[in-house]
């Protein structure tokens, strides 16, 4: 463990919904250990300098997805962003493209509704298997979507997405990647149910493949790739229907 400290200036965006008309920046001088992440520095502020600072965090180990913030303009999971990789002055803001509830806390209602909208669960059209049976899945079938199950809903991808920034109707990266995860699951038969939402104007075709979502994703989910694959799937399905070829069973 390092005992060396580095004095860092944290410019933190503050917003009190009861007092402020607009957000403003407050600077804290924090003695940081070299092995700290940004979340440690924010916790130091909360514990030692200013108890009024509001922010979300829970696990401190890249699992809960609560501590996503803008660090020097980049959507980042603050428990994964080491201070040794940053200059002495760091600007911390709430995730972009979301309304600010208070300080570094954003309102996530919109994406929560979008995640629900894509029906992120296994849909079956036939009878469930007998009680002593289960759905069989080979390792090859699991490999088709495993990467997509890594999403922790930190919403860094939405903060990076310029399409979502300009058009709040766009379903967005994480929700589309989640839909693709279920479409790719061999136990699922709900692909055609999801198609109405995904192939609609606000679905995959609103994505212009800037690719920012995948660049900032702390879990390497690669939502941009998932969306492009869905475009290919959607186009194939469209031509199958046009040519009278029976589509996917699901």
């Amino acid at each position: 463990m390092s005992t060396q400290t580095r004095q860092m200036e944290l410019e933190v965006m503050r917003y009190d919904p009861e007092k402020d008309d607009a957000p403003w920046f407050q600077t804290y001088s924090v003695p940081c250990m070299e092995d700290w992440v940004i979340l440690d520095a924010i916790n130091y502020v909360k514990d030692n300098l200013d108890t009024t600072l509001a922010y979300r965090w829970s696990c401190h180990m890249m699992v809960c997805g609560s501590c996503g913030m803008m660090v020097n303009g980049e959507p980042s999971l603050t428990c994964k962003t080491f201070i040794r990789e940053l200059p002495d002055k760091v600007r911390i803001e709430p995730l972009e493209n979301f309304p600010i509830e208070r300080d570094l806390v954003v309102v996530l209602d919109d994406v929560m509704q979008k995640l629900h909208q894509v029906q992120p669960y296994i849909i079956r059209k036939d009878d469930p298997p007998a009680e002593d049976k289960e759905y069989i899945q080979s390792r090859g079938a699991l490999a088709k979507f495993k990467q997509l199950t890594m999403c922790i809903n930190c919403m860094c991808c939405y903060a990076a997405c310029p399409q979502y920034a300009l058009n709040k109707d766009f379903i967005g990266p994480a929700a589309l990647a989640l839909a693709h995860r279920y479409n790719r699951d061999n136990r699922d038969q709900g692909k055609s149910d999801r198609l109405d939402i995904l192939a609609d104007h606000d679905g995959v075709w609103d994505c212009s493949f800037v690719g920012a979502c995948s660049e900032v994703c702390p879990k390497h989910v690669d939502p941009a790739a998932a969306i492009q694959q869905m475009k290919v799937d959607g186009a194939v399905e469209f031509w199958k229907q046009k040519m009278g070829i029976p589509g996917d069973k699901s």
Binding site: A165, A212, Q229
Partner: protein, 131 residues
């Protein structure tokens, strides 16, 4: 305590100035102007071809002027750097190939695209009588 969420304003005309990756995206999208230019050029060339021999020869001569050759060269480089190279690099993302439990290495798909591109280019040059 009352809720009063603050929505940060965003410019619909200068949003891409916020980050380098957005600027690269906009530079990529600007190739659409070149596509538009080449669409008009093709229509103009076809009109010359269906017009008279003099008009067609004049069209060919105009395309061989130093200024136009430089323009075509710059346009080709712009397309290569903002369309061909990035899209071929991204092709394995949009079209992953899985055999059994393993994904086909990305390099195979990328090289496949370059080989197909070369084959199509050679075919077009052959059609144009370059060989």
């Amino acid at each position: 305590m009352s809720r009063n969420p603050y929505v940060r304003p965003i410019s619909t005309t200068t949003w891409y100035m916020r980050h380098g990756r957005y600027k690269v995206y906009v530079l990529r999208e600007l190739t659409s102007f070149l596509v538009m230019f080449y669409s008009f050029l093709t229509i103009y060339g076809l009109s010359a071809l269906t017009g008279s021999a003099e008009r067609w020869d004049a069209f060919l001569a105009s395309q061989q002027s130093t200024a136009m050759v430089v323009f075509h060269g710059v346009a080709l480089l712009y397309f290569l750097f903002f369309q061909t190279f990035p899209w071929f690099k991204l092709a394995p993302k949009a079209m992953p190939v899985q055999i059994g439990e393993k994904k086909l290495p990305d390099s195979y798909i990328i090289i496949g695209h370059y080989v197909a591109w070369l084959a199509v280019s050679v075919f077009i040059l052959w059609l144009a009588g370059a060989f």
